[in-house]
């Protein structure tokens, strides 16, 4: 066991009695089972195929103490364009977390019509069954040490139930802000159920200070029931010394449409893991993303879509821009089980390398056990097209500005598919500003 692994186990021993739900048998069981799983496996390392390029055991030397929560009256100033400001002018339901703790006084999630909300720091005694079933489900972290740690340490989070048939009129924005000069480990756990025929859009943004090596471990479990439509947009814009470790699990029901888009801009090391399963046929799932990395950033996107039932579509569309010494990783797996006939699964990952020292590792994995399916994958990597650059400069656009335009254009495709205009514009604001922001911070 490494020093970091031992620290984590010690930290859990000290933290557990103050964690929400302590003393509730079902929650105690879930946490104990999670820490045992972690003790058995330790931090993920490169000899595990899914962690081949992100050796967390080697990278995560120091484990900051779990964050402590106090209510705050104001958020720190956010200057310029970032994930916190990009959506500020949009009409939304806003839920603010500071250092992983929900801040009801800064939020307006109360009384959204058609939504039941449960705060994980509430009274565990009175939690409805759907929350208990979600949080108490220990099968989700099997073989996933990061999610096991999240279950063990989760100090706050929100459970949302979008009621059957409800259409939520505005996006629900969960805004995770990290503050302070002291590095801490932040563990948040969210649970979302979109019931039959409901429609909702969720936005999650992560921001934090520069020069602080904090760790965010965020997990979101999503169940989309029959006929529902769900969109989730995540913007990871953490401080450039942070670790961001995220897990999302989606279960898509019959005739559902699920669209997930992650924009990765921040963190020194990030791992965005998405696992998709199906509970019904004819579902349509898109998992998309754009990563823009510079300096020595390391950004890992790992996806697994498991088609266990027939007749669903899945799409994976990823764009990665890398400058300086940045490293991008895309591991995309599509599994089609023997009975999942008529599956249509497509995967595309494209990288733009702006520097000879940048590195992209793309690893498509298709495991197909059914014979009547359509599956395709593609991966490209290249540098900026000189002809494009010349055309723009020949119209008087200076080189740096022309490059910024082309870089933003490269990642535009997955963003253009976001239907909500304000959210789409906010995303474009972030990708358009990337070139200048990173130069300013270098």
């Amino acid at each position: 066991m490494t020093a970091a692994e031992k620290t984590l186990i010690d930290q859990f021993g000290e933290a557990r009695e103050n964690l929400p739900g302590n003393g509730e048998a079902w929650m105690d069981d879930a946490r104990s089972s999670a820490i045992r799983t972690f003790e058995k496996n330790g931090l993920p390392h490169r000899r595990l195929e899914r962690w081949k390029y992100t050796d967390l055991r080697a990278m995560l030397g120091q484990i900051p103490a779990p964050a402590t929560g106090t209510p705050v009256s104001d958020l720190p100033d956010h200057d310029g364009i970032n994930a916190h400001t990009a959506f500020a002018s949009i009409e939304r339901y806003h839920g603010v977390f500071v250092n992983g703790y929900f801040q009801p006084q800064l939020s307006n999630l109360e009384d959204i019509e058609g939504v039941e909300i449960v705060n994980l720091r509430g009274n565990f005694n009175n939690f409805p069954d759907w929350v208990k079933a979600g949080l108490g489900n220990t099968s989700v972290f099997e073989g996933n040490a990061v999610l096991a740690l999240n279950t063990a340490f989760a100090a706050d989070g929100i459970a949302l139930r979008i009621k059957a048939g409800a259409t939520i009129d505005k996006p629900i924005h969960l805004d995770y802000v990290t503050t302070g000069d002291e590095a801490a480990t932040i563990s948040v756990r969210n649970l979302i159920i979109v019931e039959k025929g409901a429609q909702a859009t969720l936005v999650e943004t992560f921001t934090g200070p520069r020069d602080v090596a904090y760790v965010v471990n965020a997990a979101t479990q999503i169940t989309v029931e029959e006929g529902a439509r769900f969109t989730r947009i995540k913007v990871q814009d953490e401080g450039l010394d942070a670790f961001h470790l995220a897990n999302m699990q989606i279960t898509a029901g019959e005739n559902t449409r699920c669209h997930d888009l992650t924009l990765t801009l921040g963190a020194r090391v990030s791992r965005n893991e998405v696992n998709v399963g199906f509970s019904g046929e004819n579902a349509d799932v898109t998992i998309a993303g754009a990563s823009m990395l510079a300096g020595k950033q390391h950004g890992d996107t790992t996806l697994c879509i498991t088609h266990s039932l027939p007749s669903s579509n899945s799409r994976q569309e990823f764009k990665t821009v890398l400058d300086d010494y940045a490293r991008g990783i895309f591991q995309g797996c599509v599994i089609v089980k023997p009975h999942a006939q008529k599956t249509d699964g497509r995967q595309m990952t494209q990288a733009l390398l702006l520097s000879p020292n940048a590195e992209m590792d793309a690893k498509p994995e298709l495991e197909i056990y059914a014979d009547d399916v359509e599956c395709a994958h593609g991966a490209t990597a290249g540098d900026l097209d000189e002809e494009y650059l010349f055309y723009l400069r020949a119209r008087g656009i200076p080189e740096a500005k022309a490059k910024a335009l082309l870089v933003a254009a490269f990642v535009a495709e997955p963003l253009e598919k976001i239907e909500h205009e304000g959210l789409r514009e906010g995303l474009f604001q972030l990708t358009n500003a990337w070139f200048d922001r990173r130069k300013g911070e270098a």
Partner: protein
């Protein structure tokens, strides 16, 4: 406006221009004609600053300044505009965003204020109407899904918006049917002014029925071998480039 003296240029050691001389006065329209491979497009690229060419001899003076001291975008801001023979498609950059960025970038380089969005939109509306360009077209990515005629009209729209001092039209007639050609030529003619010079590069004479040049030059094997008035274009149409092809062989 423009003085080119004894210009020699090569690509990967292969000479393309071999002692080209050309002088274009303010407000003049010059046509450059010549057989394929005579160096017409190379000249247009060198004027706009494309970096694929080695200049081995000679000079280009633009408005009294050494053109070789200016970067691609500085040349554009100083008023040089090349309408491309094959305008490229740039997915993801909206045509409207591109126009606004280009116009404001040039204004900033020249020390002028940026145009506000309403002022810019008004200007675009005015210019697109004259060129029969649908505003929806500008919401698309640059040249993506544009027809051949639309691409050429979009080049002329950029020219109309940016109001350059020296317009270089590289085979703007290629791939256009007669209606499209007329529309493009009208757009160009509207831009003719005593302050604006033009270099019209073309293989065929037909464009010059619509854009009447002050001078016509024949380019062959990398230099100007004959100059004359607009009647020279008619002569070339009748006799072809055969006699100049011979000179090329002799030169080589």
């Amino acid at each position: 406006m423009l003085v080119i003296e004894n210009l020699h240029a090569e690509v990967e050691g292969e000479p393309i221009l071999r002692g080209l001389n050309l002088e274009v006065g303010t407000g003049e329209v010059h046509a450059i004609m010549g057989p394929n491979g005579s160096g017409k497009s190379t000249l247009s690229y060198i004027l706009s600053g494309k970096e694929d060419y080695d200049i081995t001899q000679g000079s280009i003076t633009y408005k009294g300044d050494n053109l070789f001291d200016m970067s691609i975008d500085e040349r554009a801001a100083a008023g040089i505009f090349l309408a491309f023979q094959y305008p490229i498609e740039i997915p993801g950059v909206a045509a409207m965003t591109f126009l606004k960025t280009a116009l404001n970038a040039q204004r900033i380089t020249r020390g002028e204020d940026e145009l506000t969005t309403p002022a810019f939109m008004k200007l675009v509306k005015e210019k697109t109407a004259a060129l029969n360009i649908r505003p929806e077209m500008l919401r698309r990515s640059i040249n993506v899904g544009f027809s051949g005629g639309e691409k050429k009209r979009f080049e002329i729209l950029q020219m109309a918006l940016l109001e350059p001092s020296l317009c270089i039209l590289d085979e703007t007639d290629s791939g256009l049917d007669i209606d499209a050609l007329q529309l493009v030529a009208e757009g160009v003619n509207r831009l003719r002014s005593p302050e604006r010079s033009m270099i019209v590069i073309t293989h065929y004479q037909r464009l010059l029925n619509h854009i009447i040049p002050d001078r016509v030059h024949v380019l062959s094997a990398g230099k100007v071998v004959r100059s004359g008035g607009k009647e020279l274009a008619m002569e070339l149409e009748k006799n072809g480039y055969a006699e100049y092809e011979d000179q090329k062989i002799n030169a080589a």
